[in-house]
């Protein structure tokens, strides 16, 4: 796994990191749904999930929550309503 300092990345670079990691996690999730006993896939899923959450935490602290309904916190004033929404980027 490439060693990146997420704090040094720009907003766009950080977002791309999140998309790359989350995509790997989604792919492994689907694979595990039909291969629940594949240990390698599960190890990789957990490994990428940890890295994904690290990246998301850095992003969200700087730029606001990526999810709502209690999945992420917000500073004041309520950041969830803020742009950019996905089609605005």
């Amino acid at each position: 796994m490439q060693e990146l300092d997420y704090e040094e990345l720009s907003r766009e670079e950080l977002k791309l990191q999140i998309q790359e990691l989350e995509f790997a996690v989604i792919e492994l999730n689907l694979f595990l749904d039909t291969h629940p006993t594949n240990q390698k896939a599960l190890m990789d899923y957990n490994m990428f999930s940890i890295e994904l959450n690290k990246t998301k935490n850095v992003y969200q602290k700087k730029y606001g929550p990526l999810t709502n309904f209690g999945y992420a916190l917000s500073s004041y004033p309520w950041k969830w309503v803020e742009s950019p929404w996905p089609w605005e980027e």
Partner: protein
């Protein structure tokens, strides 16, 4: 479609316990992963499921 994810229809197998009409999908083994940036671009992390489309393969007749 690549060999490993093709559907196969067997008509006359030696093994008698294979029922007809039936379709078989080969189970995908977890062999390798593309590096993450490449995986996102391609649309899969699995080399054995990657099936690129070349739009220019169609020949024009008129």
């Amino acid at each position: 479609m690549s060999e490993l994810n093709k559907e196969m229809v067997y008509e006359d197998l030696e093994t008698e316990h294979i029922r007809l009409p039936k379709v078989y999908v080969v189970n995908q083994p977890y062999i390798d992963r593309f590096p993450l940036p490449e995986a996102l671009k391609k649309g899969t992390i699995f080399p054995n499921l990657y099936d690129p489309y070349m739009a220019k393969m169609v020949k024009n007749k008129c």
